[in-house]
């Protein structure tokens, strides 16, 4: 079976410093992959480079979604092709309500002449907000403005649920969440699991993986995937830390691009 999403030899730099140093990853339809690793090993750079953040410059490699070259697309085209990145630090957009924003995003992928009806949109949004235990007033609040860290994360998951992407990247979605919020967010993710949708879960901690069970676990160091395994790898990392991986691979400094 061909991969839904594939990264080959990806290299990327930020402000002239190369962070990703030839990263390879294949994700099949319906699979959940977790990427773990200490701080400063390039995890968030991977997420931002795939999405096309203007500060990240891809210098080599390929990224394909459904056989299409993602790297040639603008950020918005990548999203419409089915990529979704739940961000670690979502932007606040004053004056633009959550509802207006999401309706624009949905209509952008439906195209002109095929816009979603307002009633249908409101019903959908209300239903998904209920699943995420979000106060209905967040519909009319300005996008992320004044939201707490946890509210922003829920709002990211809400967007994922409304936009129904093919490949979801969750960048540290668990940071800043208490255990109840974490369970709600995880339930939202699990509800979206399907044979046509894959997930790349980036996290420091095993904690999230107790609720979102990965099929594969990868360890990232020095801007590459250095070790891969099944869910048991995450458990061992949680129990023993990363030192044994470094020892096994002869790595002294696992970070990359640090001054």
């Amino acid at each position: 079976m061909s991969a839904l999403f594939e990264i080959r030899g990806l290299r990327a730099a930020v402000e002239g410093k190369e962070i990703l140093q030839g990263l390879n990853l294949r994700i099949g339809g319906g699979e959940v992959h977790a990427i773990m690793g200490p701080n400063g090993t390039g995890k968030s750079t991977l997420a931002s480079s795939i999405m096309g953040h203007p500060k990240y410059e891809v210098t080599a490699g390929e990224v394909e979604l459904d056989g299409r070259n993602v790297l040639e697309m603008e950020v918005d085209e990548r999203a419409r092709a089915g990529l979704f990145l739940a961000m670690q630090y979502p932007s606040e957009i004053p004056g633009v309500t959550n509802a207006d924003f999401l309706r624009s995003a949905i209509n952008a992928r439906r195209g002109e002449g095929n816009e979603i009806s307002l009633i249908r949109f409101i019903r959908q949004m209300e239903a998904k907000m209920k699943e995420l235990d979000m106060n209905p007033e967040f519909m009319h609040r300005y996008l992320n403005e004044g939201f707490s860290g946890g509210e922003k994360k829920r709002n990211e998951i809400l967007q994922m649920m409304m936009l129904e992407p093919k490949l979801v990247i969750l960048d540290e979605i668990d940071s800043g969440l208490d255990i109840d919020a974490l369970k709600i967010v995880a339930a939202g993710v699990n509800a979206m699991r399907s044979p046509e949708r894959s997930f790349l879960v980036i996290t420091h901690y095993q904690r999230l993986l107790n609720y979102v069970k990965p099929d594969y676990v990868h360890v990232m160091m020095q801007g590459r995937i250095v070790k891969s395994g099944g869910p048991e790898l995450a458990e061992r990392l949680e129990a023993e830390g990363y030192d044994w991986v470094k020892e096994e691979l002869g790595i002294v400094d696992e970070t990359v691009g640090q001054a």
Partner: protein, 434 residues
């Protein structure tokens, strides 16, 4: 091209006033003002040279044709009115008021809405006690010229305890480039009354506006406990010059709200100032501005705290495109004795092109210790992270930028108290911002 009139003296002012049958006291005022205008200097707005604006251009008294019912208003004016307006409507066309409609139950309550030209005869005592007292003709040449020349105009009197739930809509419209267009709006809200005024100044001079000067003024007097909300939308055509001095005076516990859209196509000089005279009085000023082409705009908001525990907030947000320049000034002045006063202001400018310029100048002048005051100012471009975030959800770059720019102005737009005016403002914004 019209003739430029730079000499407007005592005799011309008196002759014009007499030809309109104005009372003797007003003829005298106009004579003195015309004399002053010849002596006084132009105002000197911060960092904005206005000497080369055609500000001395006077035009001629060109009254519009009065109509008895709204159905006969010129189409360009009728199109700006809601189909069935609640409350009162008054329309100035070029140099005179051509239409007034006031609900009979308001008149029975003692509410007065009429042209200022009519009020100087019928409401003489109150008009004389207030007219050009908050905006003094001695301030500078433009003030003196306005005092000598104002025409048409709007007079509003709301009696004690009257609460008007529907607004008064004032349409000020010019389509004759030779006309003197100098409306004066005078609002007197007596003790504990409530009133909303929506003023809309525009022109039908696309392509031929060259040099038409709107020399306008607004004076609002909020007596003790009165609440006045004054919303103004200005979108005169490119090539015109829009000068407006807005003044409010608040007695004890009175409150004045200004909601202003400076959406002119030509140069603009506006100054919106509230004097918080009475204890516990308050003002809230919200201004948005959009500059396009090679527009030059000087936009000032001011609050003067005299009364104890008086409070003011002032927010100006400006979007500058192409080669437009805006100088945004905010002045909070707290006089000695205004203890427990609180004055807060914020100016933000968003620049959408490399040649656009914006300047935010917050100024706090404080002569009393026991007060609170604060300011915030920022000038910048569209935030690239915000654009990236919206694009990452599938929204194209142009649409993402549009959402961000409109969002920047939305906190003021959403405060416009009348749905039809709010929608009209959004349409103007769409047109100006593309």
């Amino acid at each position: 091209m019209s003739t430029t009139t730079t000499s407007f003296g005592r005799e011309a002012a008196a002759a014009l006033a007499r030809s309109k049958n104005e009372p003797d006291w007003l003829v005298a005022v106009r004579e003195e003002a015309a004399e002053l205008a010849a002596r006084l200097e132009l105002p000197k707005p911060e960092k904005m040279p206005i000497q080369r604006w055609p500000l001395d251009r006077i035009g001629e008294y060109r009254p519009g044709a009065a109509v008895a019912d709204a159905g006969r208003l010129p189409a360009a004016i009728a199109g700006q009115l809601p189909e069935k307006p609640d409350g009162a409507v008054i329309v100035q066309h070029n140099s005179s008021v051509i239409y007034t409609q006031v609900p009979p139950e308001w008149t029975a309550q003692g509410v007065v809405v009429c042209s200022l030209e009519e009020a100087v005869r019928t409401q003489e005592e109150r008009v004389r006690a207030h007219l050009m007292t908050a905006y003094a003709r001695e301030e500078h040449r433009l003030a003196a010229l306005h005092a000598a020349l104002w025409n048409g105009g709007v007079y509003v009197y709301v009696p004690r305890n009257a609460e008007l739930t529907a607004p008064i809509q004032a349409l000020l419209y010019a389509d004759d480039p030779e006309a003197t267009f100098a409306p004066h709006v005078l609002v007197i809200a007596d003790a504990n009354s409530r009133v909303t005024v929506l003023e809309h100044a525009s022109s039908g001079l696309a392509g031929e506006g060259a040099g038409l000067v709107h020399n306008g003024a607004v004076e609002v007097f909020a007596k003790s406990g009165a609440h006045v909300r004054y919303a103004a939308v200005h979108h005169m055509d490119a090539g015109t010059v829009d000068v407006v001095y807005r003044r409010a005076v608040c007695d004890a516990d009175a409150r004045v709200e200004w909601i202003v859209g400076e959406l002119q196509g030509g140069n603009a000089l506006t100054d919106t100032k509230t004097i918080l005279k009475g204890g516990g009085s308050a003002s809230d000023t919200k201004v948005i501005a959009v500059g396009t082409g090679s527009q030059r705009e000087s936009l000032t908001t001011q609050a003067v705290h005299i009364g104890r525990a008086s409070e003011s907030t002032m927010v100006t947000r400006a979007v500058m495109t192409e080669e437009a320049t805006a100088i945004i000034n905010g002045v909070t002045k707290i006089e000695k004795g205004a203890t427990k006063a609180n004055g807060q202001q914020a100016e933000k400018v968003l620049m959408l092109s490399p040649k656009a310029r914006g300047d935010a100048n917050p100024i706090l002048l404080i002569d009393e210790d026991d007060v609170k005051a604060g300011h915030a100012a920022s000038v910048g471009q569209i935030n690239a992270e915000q654009v990236y975030y919206l694009m990452s959800r599938g929204i194209a770059r142009a649409e993402a930028e549009r959402l961000i720019v409109h969002g920047f102005l939305e906190p003021v737009v959403s405060e416009i108290p009348l749905e039809s005016l709010r929608e009209q403002l959004r349409r103007i914004l769409e047109r100006k911002l593309g």
